[in-house]
Symmetry: C2
Amino acid sequence: MRATVMHSAGDVRIEDLADAKLVDSTDALIHVTRACICGSDLWPYKNMEPTDGGRPMGHEAIGVVEEIGAEVNTVKCGDLVVMPFAFSDGTCLFCEDGLQTECIHGGFFGSSEVGGAQAEALRIPQADGTLYALPAEADEALMPALLTLSDVLGTGHHAAVVAGVEPGKKVAVVGDGAVGLCGVIAAKRLGAEQIVILGRHPERTDLAREFGATDVVSERGEEAVERVRELTDGFGADSVLECVGLDQSTRTAIEIARPGGAVGRVGVPQGEPMPGGQTSFYGNVTIGGGPAPVRAYIDELLPDILDGTIEPGRVFDRTVDLDGVPDGYRAMDEREALKVMVQP
Amino acid sequence: MRATVMHSAGDVRIEDLADAKLVDSTDALIHVTRACICGSDLWPYKNMEPTDGGRPMGHEAIGVVEEIGAEVNTVKCGDLVVMPFAFSDGTCLFCEDGLQTECIHGGFFGSSEVGGAQAEALRIPQADGTLYALPAEADEALMPALLTLSDVLGTGHHAAVVAGVEPGKKVAVVGDGAVGLCGVIAAKRLGAEQIVILGRHPERTDLAREFGATDVVSERGEEAVERVRELTDGFGADSVLECVGLDQSTRTAIEIARPGGAVGRVGVPQGEPMPGGQTSFYGNVTIGGGPAPVRAYIDELLPDILDGTIEPGRVFDRTVDLDGVPDGYRAMDEREALKVMVQP
């Protein structure tokens, strides 16, 4: 089968790999109908050291179940399913707490062990806990929006939940990538009174406004902090969604939180020490977040997609086939595309 | 009046300063009947650069109101009051949220501007919001316990609240100083099922056991992390109280939190970047805390002191008069004393 493999920074290839097949009795096999390229895929695209054999890429997909193991009960062949970026058994103590990304039998797609979703097919470990069968009304026009359930929409929602967004709150979203834009959608859904997006790509911040952002801050660093404070009665935002992961963006996120506020981090942190250790302390600012348990959020978010209340599919501004994937990486890396959908 | 002034690391003197007096109409003046030396006073005792005039020390006190400004309404002359380590107006949006340490008209005792509590008398800004008048049953034997309401008990309680301690939770407390021991008291009060204290001073960890700790871990670093995980079903603690503030202790606190757990920081952080930025992210661990709004907690904690349910006064193991304060600093710094009470 054909699949995307990254060999080193900037070196993404479409290769013929051995066909995906069932390994464990809890596995399912899906034929991938939609996948996409993630902002987090750009980190290895920038920095990956060369490896033998490379790394299969992709962790977001919609697909059709083609085969199931003997112990799989909740999905059946022919089901159209969303595949969250992490697999999870659905039954462990963390899954029961709605924290599937910490599942004790879980893991992440897009690795040599499990394979990647930017491919014709993929083995899904722990299929019962992982896959979410879509209802019949999930028609073709909704596919881009439904695909965001596998990562970016649930991730933006996680940031908002962790940051305590609720009706009447003042919210700031750091980053105008697909996750930041989905953070705006999530904040709006949860009733935020004000949503300030920090970003400097006008076509993205324009989309953010359509999603519900009330203010755009294009400054960075100290100037951004000043500007957000001006916009929020001088004290900063109640809830800050950190959707980038760089030191600078994390520092800004902490500094624009008002005293007693909260930061929800979903940008994959590029540094180990976290900036703002004293700033957050003296402000009694809470910092939470991590890999989003998007599986837990599908029940809540899916109805709003099906009835058109939210349109997260608008974050996709380009569609490619598998052969177009390497150029899709380039286009996202060069900010020529916001988010690239893949139709294998 | 006589007061404690620190001039540089290790140089603490009792000096004759100008008498404390009312400045603003919202001030009160108290005659200090009890004060104490705080673990946080040991940071400047170790590191303070020499300054002209030095820094008045002390931010914990019980006293008798001697004079009040024209706008003071909630306390009157002769009242026996607890003075929290921060002053606050009690009416701003942060005070109304119970976050008096972020009061927009607030600040901290133990500075050249406001003066310190290790003294015969002290001016109390924002007296209405700051001071808490004790009831008549607050008799002499309870003074050590009541004095902890001004900082260490409320601070340990804040760590527990921020870390989400509730009935049935597994809790770890990093640090066996007075705040850590009060953290144990707080965790027990809030219904923790298991309380692991990390500390290596047997006389302190013995007291922690009497306060409700179920396990003691004397290892540090990676060994401590392993040991706590062993004690908590392999996953770590639901709630971790960081009561030290060093990089090493903060890293340990984050690493012993179970996935989805929470760390409440009340140890004053000695470094600006916070360790564990990626560890906390991948574990979806929430980190909160800061200067404790102890004023907000007195209503809840006082009854348990008055009826003897908790005995936080046991953290004091030495009492000195003002002349004994410099030696009190030495004794605490050398770990000869756990916490020193001052009777000016």
